[in-house]
């Protein structure tokens, strides 16, 4: 029975009987543990702020709503994601590039880990002592402690070392396998990290050349619009940096779990390359309602934003095709019989499928937000928060939970027990229900005008604002569901780390096999210089004139201000 495969001893032995090297285990587990630590603090902050905004609780005077909001955003959106992604990538590289990371990649990996960790600890400490209540977008001229920006810089530059570790493993493999196309997992990890390097250039310039000198007092004034534009050069690509690792799992690992094959070796690669091209020259769709940028350039970037429809639809097609082919290969009959043949009782499959279902309305909401004029009705309302709690906090995070449940046992040499698997499914259901309450309601009340990022307020009991309040209660109920979901996830993590029974059999690391009919991918797909060149070219086209204009039409600049 396919449904029971996850705890079947025989099925747990992969054909390659792959085991991690101890050095790789330590590196990957360090990243995953850090990620789950961030999840714990971030999720507590999330619960408290939602309850405060609904008027259910009053925070003690030592803790501010906006302080919790900053901690929630930084620890979940920036820290949990980055550490998890890097750890997952290292695991897949070790698995598909000859069984281990090369020594140089390990050194680079540890440098990256320590730089990022130190940066995060500095930044988190400053948030907790209320010296950096500037939210995770830290817009100038609101000024945090300069050391908060130093922490942010360490996180970003540290992640570059993680990217170099990925490139190092990949390049070693390429040298040893001249003329071959690389394994799909490695290709996708490299593509994601190229996207990341290009995108983070924007925020690195903002932090290192604007925020740090200004907050230390080395320069008096800051060009606020320029800093926002640099931030959003990075800010939208950031969401694809979160999403692409989830796509990796859907494309590469899940086919094995459903008992199918990866039916094309080229299409998934093309998808990732399109993301490298169309993730970055699109930041203006976050700045549509502000002065200093002319409508022509905003509209051009709206067009480029919408181009992601193409790789998204390619992905939807590929994943569903893989599921259907797998179901039919197991003897499914009729138009939809294959759905019944899928491993619904396997948490490794169930969590990401929940993620995919939520991604459908999430994507539609994204198109609304990017739609130039329509954005005026929802910009900076709770609709936006609802949107990225469906994309990031559901689609991406549920996929990551689906990865963690087998990746951790495969690293610790413990068994993914029947009970943990069942708990994983319960967790995903709780998360899905919680998100319908939370994100669904945020969309509705956002359309009614409720602003995002605001503490409890009734706006002088204005009737418009009073109509929002019942919805806040529903959102708070959703947050309670999600908080319980997070605690269950942390329990699963700790159990698989320290408690689950040890096993001598290697625990399966699922990697899908290519279908026999899949053709060798065209060479051009792996000629990175071409794609990097195109990506830079598109960004230069979309940004050069607006950047010049930001200097030409620059006001005198702003002095630092602390307003919390």
């Amino acid at each position: 029975m396919a449904e029971t495969a996850v705890y079947d001893r025989k099925a747990n032995i992969d054909s390659s009987s792959f085991r991690f090297q101890p050095e790789d285990k330590r590196l990957i587990l360090a990243h995953l543990s850090f990620a789950f630590g961030a999840l714990l603090i971030g999720t507590i902050a999330g619960l408290l702020q939602t309850l405060q905004r609904a008027g259910w609780i009053t925070l003690p005077p030592q803790i501010g709503y906006y302080q919790l909001l900053t901690a929630h955003g930084v620890l979940l959106a920036l820290v949990f994601t980055t550490f998890f992604i890097v750890g997952y990538f290292y695991s897949g590289l070790a698995r598909t590039l000859g069984g281990e990371l090369n020594p140089r990649a390990r050194v680079l990996g540890w440098i990256g880990f320590y730089m990022m960790s130190v940066g995060v600890i500095i930044a988190t400490a400053l948030i907790l002592v209320n010296e950096a209540t500037v939210l995770y977008t830290f817009y100038a001229p609101m000024e945090a402690s300069p050391w908060f920006y130093v922490g942010a810089a360490l996180l970003v530059v540290g992640s570059w070392f993680s990217a170099f570790a990925v490139f190092s493993s990949y390049l070693r493999w390429r040298r040893e396998h001249k003329g071959e196309s690389s394994p799909l997992f490695a290709f996708m990890a490299v593509a994601t990290m190229i996207l990341w390097l290009h995108a983070t250039l924007g925020v690195a310039v903002e932090v290192v050349f604007q925020l740090i000198p200004w907050s230390f007092g080395w320069v008096d004034r800051i060009n606020v619009s320029l800093s926002r534009t640099l931030f959003w050069y990075f800010g939208h690509a950031l969401v694809y940096f979160w999403l692409l690792p989830a796509y990796v799992y859907w494309y590469v690992n899940i086919p094995k779990i459903v008992g199918g094959k990866i039916f094309s070796n080229s299409l998934p690669r093309l998808t990732f390359l399109l993301f490298i091209l169309f993730s970055i020259p699109v930041g203006f769709h976050h700045q549509l309602n502000e002065p200093g940028i002319t409508s022509f350039w905003k509209f051009l970037q709206v067009i480029l934003t919408m181009m992601v429809v193409v790789p998204s639809l390619l992905t939807a097609f590929s994943i569903l095709a893989t599921f259907e082919l797998a179901g039919r290969a197991k003897g499914a009959k009729g138009l939809f019989g294959w759905i019944k043949k899928l491993p619904w009782k396997d948490a490794r499959f169930f969590s990401p499928v929940m993620a995919m279902l939520i991604f459908v309305p999430a994507g539609a909401g994204g198109i609304i937000l990017a739609s130039y004029q329509l954005n005026q009705t929802v910009h900076n309302t709770w609709f936006v928060t609802g949107h990225f709690h469906m994309t990031l906090a559901s689609t991406v995070v549920l996929t990551f939970f689906g990865i963690a449940i087998w990746l951790i046992p495969s690293l610790t040499g413990r068994k993914l027990t029947r009970n943990m698997n069942r708990l994983g499914i319960v967790q995903a259901i709780l998360w899905g229900v919680g998100m319908i309450f939370l994100s669904g309601t945020m969309h509705i009340v956002g359309l009614m005008g409720a602003p995002r990022r605001s503490a409890y307020a009734t706006y002088g009991n204005h009737e418009v604002a009073m109509a929002w309040l019942p919805y806040y209660d529903i959102i708070a109920i959703g947050a309670v569901f999600l908080f319980v979901g997070s605690l269950i996830e942390l329990y699963i993590f700790l159990h698989l780390m320290f408690v689950a029974p040890k096993t001598n059999e290697p625990v399966q690391y699922p990697i899908g096999d290519m279908a026999e009919t899949a053709k060798e991918p065209p060479r051009i797909l792996e000629r990175w210089s071409v794609w990097i060149g195109l990506s830079l070219t598109l960004s230069i086209i979309a940004y050069t004139i607006p950047f010049i204009s930001l200097f030409e039409h620059a006001p005198p600049g702003s002095l630092p201000i602390r307003t919390w």
Binding site: M142, P291, F317, Q376, Y459, W564
Partner: protein
């Protein structure tokens, strides 16, 4: 490429072009663009020493046509109440004296970012009478959620 995939991609591209065409027609021929002014001000902390923000307020510039010069600051707006007759067209010019703020009027298309040093311009006609709430929708500090104002659109008697 398999046949179904081709159909799927044609559907995708066609909807993409349709969506963009609708947005483009509204922008190019109906004048529906978000605020995009390139006007700037003196240094933000001195913005009240120079026109137009030395005299924020509501100015009638024609029959049922008004100019609103609005200054935002932590944590309020000047003017905090705007009273106009039904059917008025209002041209907003707004900026911030300190950090980034927003002006958002639920139920209308007024959704503006106010960046210190820059002037945000937007025009809106108010056809329905009533008391409209406006509020700050960009986090600006500890009193962000208290930052608000009112637009009172008085019913026309004619």
């Amino acid at each position: 490429m398999p046949r179904y995939e081709k159909i799927w991609m044609i559907f995708g591209f066609a909807s993409l072009i349709l969506f963009l065409a609708i947005l483009g027609i509204m922008a190019a021929f109906m004048g529906l663009n978000p605020p995009d002014s390139l006007r700037t001000t003196v240094a933000p902390e001195k913005v009240e020493t120079a026109p137009p923000f030395d005299q924020p307020g509501v100015y009638q510039i024609g029959p049922k046509e008004y100019r609103v010069v609005m200054l935002s600051y932590v944590f309020g707006y000047n003017p905090g109440t705007i009273t106009i007759p039904q059917g008025s067209t209002v041209h907003f010019e707004a900026t911030s004296r300190d950090v980034i703020h927003g002006v958002y009027v639920p139920g209308t298309n007024i959704n503006l970012m106010l960046i210190p040093g820059h002037i945000t311009e937007f025009t809106q006609t108010f056809n329905k009478p009533g008391e409209y709430l406006y509020l700050c929708h960009e986090y600006c500090g500890v009193g962000h959620h208290l930052m608000q104002g009112r637009i009172i659109v008085e019913p026309s008697t004619t």
